[in-house]
Amino acid sequence: MEGTDSQQTELNITYGRAGDYLVIELDGEVDVYSANSLRGAIVEKVEEGEYRIAIDLNKVAFLDSTGLGVLVGGLKRVRSHQGELGIICNQDKILRIFRITGLEKIFPIYDGVEGLARSRAGD
């Protein structure tokens, strides 16, 4: 939301499905304070056998390099099981961080769950 700031660093995590992907939907801010909860969620789901994961960042108000590090760690984790980790994001301020760091070339990025589903249907 333009022009607003929040001091609270809450990160709400919910789960959904898009085809054979587990979608981890984040709502809040991803920084050094909240990143451990995201890391824990990814680790837990991979240990449960989920190797196709999409992280939905469309409701994320803020993401910094600590969050990027968690996503890279998650990518390595699923790839060790021949899996995939995609990013769902249509927010330019977040996509800009992926572009600057070159991570847009590492992660498959979709603009929404529908885009992920369309991509999977086209496989």
Binding site: T9, E29, D31, D64, S65, G73, I97, T101
Partner: protein, 145 residues
């Protein structure tokens, strides 16, 4: 219309992750008062988050209640921010690239800061701690950049 912001603004906080969002809030409020663009404000929030996160990491191995000091020096069209810690410092030659960060799964912070600001200065010492100073211009004056 933004409010007038002048003079240095200082924030001292415990070296704890829970206060990084407060630092972002302070800097974004000052930048909004300077009528920075939303993109510049977003950049500053990322930069300050990286600066404070690094300061917390530098203090991790120190015993006691380490504190982080942030100073903001606004002027028309520009904002300078300093973050100082009393941690253990580090070897600046160890700062890598985004590619190094990808391999390690961390270490994106300083390369990211450098991409998002106009001026960057780093002073680090094993005994005295680390000072990072950045300046961000909202609209670059002629001849800069």
């Amino acid at each position: 219309m933004g409010c007038e912001v002048s003079g240095a603004i200082r924030l001292e906080m415990p070296s704890s992750p829970r206060y990084v969002s407060l630092a972002r809030l302070v800097v974004s409020t000052i930048a909004r008062g300077l009528e920075f663009s939303e993109e510049s404000i977003d950049d500053l929030k990322v930069v300050v988050s990286e600066m404070c996160t690094n300061a917390i990491i530098h203090c991790e191995n120190r015993k006691g209640e380490e504190r982080i000091q942030m100073s903001c020096m606004p002027r028309p069209g520009a904002l300078t921010v300093e973050v100082r810690d009393s941690g253990q410092g580090f070897d600046p030659s160890c700062v890598g690239s985004f590619e190094d960060g990808l391999a390690a799964g961390k270490g994106f912070g300083i390369p990211l800061i450098k991409c998002l600001v106009d001026e960057f200065e780093l002073q680090t010492d094993r005994e005295k701690g680390t000072l990072v100073r950045i300046t961000k211009y909202d609209h670059r004056p002629a001849g800069v950049g």
